[in-house]
């Protein structure tokens, strides 16, 4: 299938976090979780093969993490945004800030994993 990826999941909802964790682990990847904005900020300091990013986080907005990653840390880590926000302008802003993909909730875990693997392989 592909190599083992180190994936960071930034998500505050325990259900989604658990589903993502399981889905990614079953596909053979290593998963680390951050549950809020500050946690995500800290975790960004390490190296990841891919990041799954929620937007409505306690303590901040996910797109600010993305901005920090791309503009200040200058990393090109593939980022998949997974959010309940469906407004066009949010999607556009995320893509403009450098996210590879934007998935809305409710989501399909298989689809997410496949897309993630494709972005990781494309690096």
């Amino acid at each position: 299938m592909g190599r083992v990826a180190r994936v960071l999941v930034v998500e505050d909802d325990p259900t989604v976090a658990r589903v993502l964790e399981l889905a990614l682990q079953r596909a053979g990847h290593e998963v680390a979780l951050a549950r809020d904005f500050l946690g995500g900020l800290e975790a960004l300091g390490q190296d990841w093969d891919a990041i799954v990013l929620d937007l409505n986080l306690p303590g901040g907005f996910g797109l600010d993490l993305l901005r920090h990653l791309r503009q200040e840390l200058k990393r090109t880590t593939p980022v998949l945004v997974l959010s309940g926000l469906k407004q066009e302008r949010t999607v556009v802003e995320a893509l403009q800030l450098g996210a590879q993909d934007y998935l809305t909730k409710p989501f399909s875990p298989q689809e997410l994993v496949l897309r993630l693997e494709r972005h990781v392989a494309a690096r």
Binding site: L38, G60, H68
Partner: protein
């Protein structure tokens, strides 16, 4: 001499009846308030809240933040407002001619650039020296103006605000992430809603990380702990009760959401009073009633705002002095509503209550204490009777406070430790043994200072956040 004795005796009798009526009313409010909280307990589920958030079903809000000398905490506060979960909003910070580096701190922290804006100056205010926007946050606007007081700053902010709703906050208010959504959805669902008040809880002692309250903990200071009980009583028993009667006269300046056009229409905030928050609400009621419109001004317990409460006696007394003077000023401005049936429950219930029991209450209480030795000396009082009566009065006070503490136990974000719960119940007892009397005395004094100190604020000794909290917010 006979007459004087008789007068004094009559006063004793009066005090007893006053006490009886007051406590009947308190009990009535407690029940009414509790009933309304129970009724609306699960009105807005997490699910519906999520739905509202994810779709375009909301009204955009302008958050007005008047600030004076707050250089230590302003950046942190503004950042916490900017990170609220709300689809569309702006933060308008109005720097009211600060004498310290508040404006400089803002400029640095948010990379502000000056802009020339043409806007509609509906409300008069002190001159605006400059308007700034942030290159980091497109929805942040900072107004620099000459000093004119909080109400004046709010009016200036209102002129600039662009959304149909506005939310007035204190610079040190910490809003729960969902507070704005919970408060503003009422405006969407009911067009008659003119203003909404939420619950204010003391922030002191809470564990705050990244602008989010993670856990409620009792603060170390005795005064701060007392205020926790006080606020619980004031909101869950007091405001809930009045709101259920549709006669809510107070929406706290620390957190309130209003329809902008309505407030502009009635002329904005009055700048010649220290009770500008209450005055606005009373005027909103008054106008709507005079125009015979269907309207609502509710308090809902769910939107929560945390605010720092005074930790030392001096600031606390100054604050209560100011509140009480504000109350009298508002009662005076709107004295035409007192006992006036044209204003329905407001004129016949709410205003008289605030006049007789909130306004005059401290006077009656302190006079009671002061006259007590006089009565004893003159043999007008039976010591046993008086002592027992005092005990009963205090007992009722404790009961009400404990009722409020019980209500707080129902909240999901309550003080979780059982030990703290015990403390709070015990504090209800201590409250009546000194704390309340000191504040009653302060309010007693305030009653006589209203004329002299018209519209005068004091300055709060800003404690700043405790070190553990201050380091929590890092910045990308």
């Amino acid at each position: 001499m006979e007459a004087l004795l008789w007068l004094l005796f009559a006063y004793q009798v009066f005090v007893l009846y006053y006490f009886a009526v007051l406590n009947f009313l308190y009990a009535f409010f407690a029940l009414y308030g509790l009933g309304s909280v129970a009724r609306y307990a699960r009105e807005l589920s997490e699910l519906s809240l999520k739905d509202l958030l994810e779709r375009e079903a909301y009204l955009p809000v302008s958050i007005l933040v008047p600030t004076y000398n707050e250089e230590k905490t302003i950046a942190h506060s503004v950042r916490s407002f900017l990170s609220l979960h709300y689809p569309e909003f702006e933060v308008v910070v109005v720097a009211d001619g600060p004498k310290d580096r508040t404006l400089e701190v803002l400029k640095e922290a948010f990379r502000l650039v000056p802009v020339e804006v043409v806007y509609r100056r509906v409300l008069p205010s002190k001159p605006v020296r400059g308007i700034y926007r942030s290159t980091l946050y497109p929805n942040l606007v900072v107004v620099d103006k000459e000093n004119g007081g909080k109400a004046d700053a709010l009016n200036a902010g209102l002129n600039l605000a662009r959304y149909p709703l506005f939310c007035s906050v204190d610079a040190d208010s910490l809003l729960d992430a969902q507070a704005l959504l919970r408060a503003s959805r009422l405006f969407l669902e009911d067009e008659g809603v003119l203003a909404v008040g939420g619950t204010i809880r003391p922030l002191n002692g809470a564990e705050v990380r990244g602008g989010v309250v993670e856990a409620m903990r009792l603060p170390r200071g005795f005064l701060e702990k007392m205020q926790i009980v006080e606020y619980a009583r004031a909101f869950f028993l007091g405001r809930a009760g009045w709101s259920a009667l549709n006669a809510l006269l107070i929406i706290s300046g620390a957190f309130g959401v209003f329809r902008r056009e309505e407030v502009l229409r009635i002329g904005g905030y009055r700048t010649d009073t220290v009770g500008e928050d209450m005055e606005l609400v009373v005027r909103l009621h008054r106008r709507a009633r005079e125009e015979g419109r269907e309207y609502r001004i509710p308090y809902t317990p769910d939107p929560i705002c945390y605010t720092e409460v005074p930790a030392d006696w001096k600031t606390l007394r100054r604050q209560r002095n100011r509140w009480h003077r504000g109350l009298w000023e508002v009662l005076w401005f709107h004295r035409g509503m007192l006992f006036n049936p044209r204003y329905g429950r407001l004129g016949l219930l709410a205003m008289p209550y605030f006049f007789l029991f909130e306004g005059l209450g401290p006077v009656v209480e302190v006079l009671g204490y002061l006259l007590f030795p006089v009565f004893l000396l003159l043999g007008l009082t039976n010591l046993d009777f008086a002592a027992l009566f005092l005990l009963l009065a205090l007992g009722y006070g404790v009961l009400l406070s404990q009722l409020a503490v019980g209500m707080e136990t129902l909240l999901l974000k309550r003080y979780p430790r059982l030990r703290d719960r015990l403390w709070l119940l015990f504090l209800s007892l201590l409250e009546t043994l000194g704390y309340r009397q000191v504040l009653a005395f302060e309010r007693f004094l305030a009653t006589f200072q209203v004329w002299r100190k018209r519209g005068v604020w004091g300055e709060m000794q800003r404690k700043g956040l405790e070190p553990a909290q201050a380091e929590g917010r890092k910045e990308p």
